[in-house]
Symmetry: C2
Subunit: 457 residues, 2 copies
């Protein structure tokens, strides 16, 4: 059964960040307030902020927290006629009664009736239940409030030494933020090289660049606990030893916050994310979900994947909002594309790395090609390495990774577009990509890599 | 009849630049000198140079002419066993006798017998047979020798004022070169706006940027002649008036140099380029052609197009060389992708503009979206405009144009990849492109433009 919008119906949105508010505002574009009442429940204070901007708030590159807020609650109320309730946490969903139980930060409890329900509960940090983890100075950076608190702690205490736990995208960005603040940084990661999204040969380049920036990189180490004095962190413990730290950043990743959905009886997928179809419908009629709390269709593995990124949250929210508003839209899946930079080094990937390809059952070949960002003779040409992986036999592109300096990273979008279309590397090698000496060698690094891996397939 | 390589056969290459030498060296990779003798005839002194780098040689950004030479004749002789003859101009091809008539710069004449013939005669400037055009200081920039001569003229005479005739890619790059040399620059172009490859609304942005750099832009004017004193240019004449100029750069474009092929009886296409198939075979067995002298298959119009760019010359030459060497390769066509920059402004396009789409019989819709190169709150975010054109009804992408500052231009490769795959703009709008605040707003400009044009189709 589909719930469509008849007379005046009511949409309740749980979670007021990218996915929830994209859905709400898109539904509003299609249905005015005489047709659709929209209530958005947000347990924090902020709506629609750029979580991806938090490292830049912590570093000070972005000066004010307001800079990260795309639209505040008042804007949604005024311009979109969306009844945003901050400090309002959804504590339960009753699918039979079609209502949400809410607890206010002030202590009040009430319920909200819905015709449509949008679940956009986001993600929570992976638990790191370690001895001493409650000490001051052990800082999460997942929500805007986390980021504000982390920056305040660093401003107030001016630590000289810090540890970043986890060296994925967030870990890298936080390492950059701390370096920019003049803090001596150690990163600790359990992997063979930083950035487990990359193959180790590409991760090695990231490690060498980090080391070149003065960052100490400790690999194959797991954090076992924290040392503190007077409830303030002083060190990080691993099986290998202890590292002094006046501040610790937890960059260990997140998992879908799907508990509320699970308790309500919505289907949860094998990855732990809320299961949705391409129109962002959950297993219950009239209940939609989007953003970091859902699992998405991965276009290469053809299976579910959790990719908690603002870009998907925005797209999925918009798709849900279009469908809630009576339109038709589909979210056509993810490739796992991601990009970051650390002090000038650009790192990006899309699709499957070696380990992911193997786990997905592909037999693959890969080639890493070192080239330059401009014609070799043009000033400012910088090194970049492009690695492509393709299925043996068919030559179908499976994934790509880029590590390099200025202008390297965004080239991953060419790989993502090729991957989106299921191209073979042979076909890619002939593509008409742009060339002029300030932008590329005459054989673009992407074309060379495609040709070389095609020769192996 | 196919000519394949039996016992020892002989390949004669006419033209020793990108296409010719790519073919020669690729054929050599597949066939050693016991199987294939290779003779390359080049009327100039240089082989395999980057013609696209000439503006940067003239500006001085690239200091030495050798920097532009990828491989010199001695390298080809030594490392590839290719008998390169410089100062050797092919004056006729006898398809029955399978021989090429050659004239040496020293005055000698001889013939070269061939089994395979590679025609890579390149392009010649469009004739500008105007009164006074032989005066000193009227400078072409098509060959490396032209570039060397232009730079020498500018070094020697230190002009204060110069005119660039034609404001396409080369005209823009030469305007930048002259600005960088501290010369006052006027550009004169017959079009409504600079860069006729772009729609006028995008060309206007280029004009405004040029004007912002102090370049005088004269549009809808045709050059009618040149004024000179003592055989040295002093001014450029148009119907509207006279512009003082101590140097004039001719940036009026090129046409395929297909005369030799035509006289030999090879099929010439409707564009004036040598007609070839996807394997770079001409109408005569065992005769191949590639580079600026041929016409290529345009993947959007599905018709022939002349796109004289080094990137195609290299790819086509490589394809021809593979086939000559007994392998199998195809050149899968062009999109007309191009990119340039002028003093920081990046300009790029791919596929069809409004006029080209109309002429090709498409009814199209287009949207130009202004966005930024980074998240709005991230330092260094620069304006960029992305314009996409799609076929009405089907929504198929027909072309894209980008004008913007730092990091704008190379995004055209995403458009080119989408175009290569025949994507619809609706499908493009959902793509998983990379996002992080230093690289893009959360809705990448390409995605926004795709969505907006999809809404119109």
């Amino acid at each position: 059964m589909e719930h469509t919008v008849n007379s005046r119906s009511r949409l309740v949105v749980v979670g007021g960040d990218a996915a929830g508010m994209s859905a709400a505002s898109q539904a509003r574009r299609l249905r005015d307030s005489r047709e659709l009442e929209i209530v958005a429940l947000e347990r924090g204070e902020h709506t629609s902020y750029s979580a991806c901007g938090i490292p830049y708030l912590v570093s000070g590159v972005v000066p004010r927290k307001q800079d990260l807020v795309a639209r505040d609650p008042d804007t949604f109320r005024r311009d979109f006629a969306i009844d945003v309730r901050t400090g309002a946490e959804a504590t339960g969903i009753d699918l039979d009664q079609r209502s949400v139980a809410v607890r206010g930060t002030g202590g009040g409890h009430w319920t909200e009736r819905f015709d449509h329900l949008m679940v956009a509960t986001g993600a929570v940090p992976r638990e790191l239940e370690l001895p001493g983890c409650a000490a001051a100075g052990i800082l999460g950076v997942q929500t805007l409030d986390d980021g504000i608190a982390a920056r305040a702690f660093l401003d107030r205490n001016q630590p000289r030494e810090a540890v970043v736990v986890g060296c994925g995208y967030i870990g890298l960005e936080m390492a950059e933020a701390l370096v920019q603040r003049g803090i001596r940084v150690r990163v600790i990661d359990s992997g063979e090289e930083p950035m487990s999204a990359l193959d180790p040969d590409m991760g090695r380049m990231v490690r060498e660049a980090l080391q070149g920036m003065g960052v100490e990189v400790h690999l194959r180490e797991r954090v076992t606990g924290f040392r503190s004095q007077r409830d303030r962190v002083t060190g990080v413990l691993t099986a290998q030893g202890e590292y002094p730290a006046e501040a610790v950043i937890l960059g260990t990743g997140v998992r879908p916050d799907s508990d509320l959905a699970r308790e309500a009886g919505l289907d949860i997928g094998p990855t732990g994310g809320v299961a949705v179809d391409a129109r962002m419908r959950t297993s219950a009629p009239g209940v939609w979900a989007a953003g970091d709390c859902v699992e998405s269709f991965h276009r290469v593995t053809r299976g579910p994947a959790v990719v908690p990124l603002g870009t998907h949250a925005n797209k999925q929210g918009r798709v849900a909002g279009t469908n809630i508003g009576g339109g038709y839209a589909r979210f056509e899946g993810v490739l796992g594309t991601a990009i970051t930079k650390v002090c000038g080094l650009e790192v990006a990937h899309t699709g499957l790395n070696e380990e992911e390809a193997r786990r997905a059952g592909f037999v693959s070949e890969a080639v890493a090609v070192e080239s330059t960002s401009r014609a070799g003779y043009y000033p400012g040409a910088e090194r970049m390495t492009v690695k492509l992986r393709a299925e043996r036999g068919s030559g179908r592109l499976l994934g790509g990774q880029i590590v390099g300096w200025e202008n390297a990273g965004k080239r991953v979008d060419v790989l993502a577009t090729a991957l989106w279309n299921g191209m073979t590397v042979e076909d890619m090698a002939g593509m008409d990509l742009s060339y002029a000496p300030p932008f590329s060698p005459v054989w673009d690094p992407v074309l060379i890599a495609a040709r070389k891996v095609a020769e192996r397939c």
